[in-house]
Amino acid sequence: MSSVESKSNPKGSGVRRFAESAGIRRKFRQEAMVKWLLAGATGMMLVPLILIIAYLVFKALPILSVGFLLDNPVKGMREGGVWAPFVGTMYLIVISLAIAAPIGVLAAVYLNEYAREGWFTRIINLAVINLAGVPSIVHALFGLGAFVLFAGLGRSVLAASLTLAIMTLPVIIASTKEALASVPMSFRQACWNVGATRWQTIRHIVLPNSISGILTGIILQVSRAAGETAPIMFTGAVFFKKVQQGDMFPYGLLDQCMALSMHLFTISTQVPGVPMELPYGTAVVLLATVLLVNICSIVLRVYLRSRKKW
């Protein structure tokens, strides 16, 4: 009996078997440190974001009003609002997305669902990834050469939108492919197995199950299209253009336009004597525009998700 007892509890009956040892306490300390480190990193990401927004809004507060949005810049852009550049940015976002999103999604569907694995598709995939990494100023030069000069569009809304579309296309293709690839293979098998064609499989099962991922990828490109200055600078955006106050459609496709990002660049670096709150106000409008578009697409995403079939 005693030998059994000593075997099961070699330290004797007074010692607690499940008590914390020094080694375990050290592991707990480690665990707590790692947790705080990770939480700290998350916090570090949030702090600048909140600071930037708070700082911008604080600086812009004296000027922010509905009038600021609806008025045009006046007196050599030293007073007034941002209507003309705001509408210009909306133009560029909508037209560039109308070009890039359908082409990007359809190309990604082809690459992921139809194209057979081989050297050709591998080269295309490599090209897509590399194009996504090309700096925007290079896209700008390409746009200038291809659309403004060669295609004869001149510096125009259309040329600038096409340049933005070319810039966002590879990223849309890459993110859409990712979203399509996340739909389990077994869903496709199930479809083929009842005699569905590839297109029926895509239409009824693959797209409804990947739409939220596809939209996320597209949304991110909206922010890029709205925020980039370089690609539109050479291809269609101008320092100043006079438009009717409150005119919803002031620009034709072949007109030049103002844009928020360009306007921000102009009034903060090119025009002397601009009151400080003007660029900050412009920045807030730019941020709010991106946020608005994002919220719209999130609502759309939630709606499509809840239906799951269409």
Binding site: A190, W192, N193, V194, G195, K309
Partner: protein, 258 residues
Amino acid sequence: MSNPDTYCIKTTGLNLWYGDFQALKDINLKIRQGIITSLIGPSGCGKTTLLRCFNRINERYGNVKTTGSTLILDEDIYTPEVSLIELRKSVGMVFQRPNPLPISVYENVLFGLKIHGATESQEKSTRDEIVEKALREVFLWNELKDKLHRRATDLQLDQQQKLCIARLLPLKPEVILMDEPCSALDSEATRGIEELMLGLIPKYTIVIVTHNMAQARRVSHECIFMLMGELIEHSPTDQLFLTPRDERTADYIEGRYG
């Protein structure tokens, strides 16, 4: 409907290569209509590949070359006139992992008909009847009649697998191919699927690939033993297990390899 003397699937000189690797070697077989035939053999012997030849689903998996002929109900399925869509309607397949679609139970059952444009002209009552009939055939109706609009992917695993079988039935298939349909299920659920299989004959011809020899003995009327891409023996199940003709069959069923 069935006649034990008619053959549902016939192959002559069937060879299949994945790239340079020959997975099937000169397979000649005749599978009777209206019974359950099981394909057994060690891993990699080609039984799943053979099964996949019967509805040409192999071709979706890349570099595959097939020679020889495969006849389903006396019609060669490897001629250019064969429509894969029609073929897969009448030769349905059930996979190892249940693969219900992420839509409701009701829509899963009707999915095949919908794909073929048959549901548009139907009354709702007709569709309801089709769903009920299919679910009754797989013994799911009583369990699921109040849950028809739940997402199929939220069901229990064995219910999912039965639903996958039910999904084939509205298309009125001739043959149902099953690729280890119970390998993801526990023994209780396995028995449920086996009962259901026995209920589906002789209306449908069933070919099942299984690793589980006890299952082959329980459910199948005839049994095919394969080894390294070759068909070694095709006999009535009892005969194959009790008095195998080939030494290699005897070795396998006694557990000497595989």
